[in-house]
Symmetry: C2
Subunit: 204 residues, 2 copies
């Protein structure tokens, strides 16, 4: 317990409450944005007293970092399911992953976008802690792309002109930008165009 | 005056105050984000009483739309200066434009990003008005890229595989995504990689 702040008082934090706060907060921050989501509305949404929040998190920033981690946990299961399936050719895996994501955004009316992208726009300039978490997860995410691209290069399915790591990062950044535009257009048009260029020109 | 709300009272709005509020608001929203910037801090920053704000703008949303327009006005002068110079080859114009932008982000420590991208992440889901303004300016911006790409295609400098309009939009979206990543990494690395792929693979 030596890392607990000395002034903390009150009942022992319940693990269920902590996870509930993170999941409720994740949903609200993803829908409304980080700055627009107050701690008061998170505790109300989770049905716990405000004091509970500070039993579990030292600040809104520390909470935000856990929300980012929880979001990427989900994302990572999806990435693993689509991109690590050795029975499917590497470019077909990548394409199936993006098709699945496009379908998911269609189901929510092209709202919300990527929580990592949203935090990058809203909070990356103001918090070294949030930036660290974003950096780590963007790195892990583009690494999944990179591994598929390495395989595709080894099989001669795409050229070796650029290192797979660079292409993986470019792919992720371009996808994040296409998601911003999707939210403005409220259509899948930018995502469909993304796929056309990526699979018709970039990864050939 | 028939479009003025019936309940508006007080002194006649001064045009200088309006423009001052927009410029101060633009700076603050670009640095802090749209949700995080309160009307109170904008009027304090502009050195005018709070009532002035509502003499000029019916809501924070209406103000946000003018901030977006003011940002794109500046952006458009830059686009015109770099991309409409017929003395320079079209791809060289595009490259010079991105080099200028990279230099500008370097000068501010890779902060702030693109205000249109930030509004897309923060507000596009919540305001049809802001979305319309973003839609219009993204369209105008990618049209500048498209015109250069048309010329490059006509000169045979790049292939006709994809329509110039599609490539222009892809270019803009990828740039917006690279800017998000720049803010997380606090380096020009994502922008340099963007240029490598765009000029080494996409526009060839």
């Amino acid at each position: 317990m030596k890392n607990q702040p000395a002034l903390r008082r009150g009942p022992k934090p319940k693990p269920g409450t902590r996870s509930n706060l993170v999941q409720v907060g994740l949903r609200m921050v993803h829908e409304e944005g980080y700055a627009a989501t107050g701690i008061q509305s998170i505790v109300e949404g989770a049905g716990v007293p405000k004091g509970s929040f500070y039993n579990h998190f030292t600040s809104k920033e520390a909470f935000g970092a856990e929300v980012i981690d929880a979001y990427f946990d989900r994302n990572e299961s999806k990435l693993r399911a689509f991109l690590c399936n050795a029975d499917v050719a590497p470019l077909a895996r990548l394409e199936a992953y993006f098709d699945d994501r496009i379908e998911a955004f269609r189901a929510v009316g092209f709202t919300k976008g990527c929580l990592l992208g949203n935090f990058s726009a809203e909070a990356a300039d103001h918090s070294a802690l949030l930036r660290e978490h974003l950096f780590e997860h963007f790195g892990a995410w583009s690494h999944f792309f990179e591994n598929c691209i390495v395989e595709a290069q080894e099989q001669g399915a795409i050229s070796n002109q650029f290192p797979a790591a660079l292409l993986g990062r470019f792919l992720l950044n371009s996808w994040e930008g296409a998601l911003l535009h999707m939210r403005v257009e409220k259509s899948d048009f930018p995502l469909i165009e993304f796929k056309k260029v990526v699979f018709g020109k970039l990864l050939v």
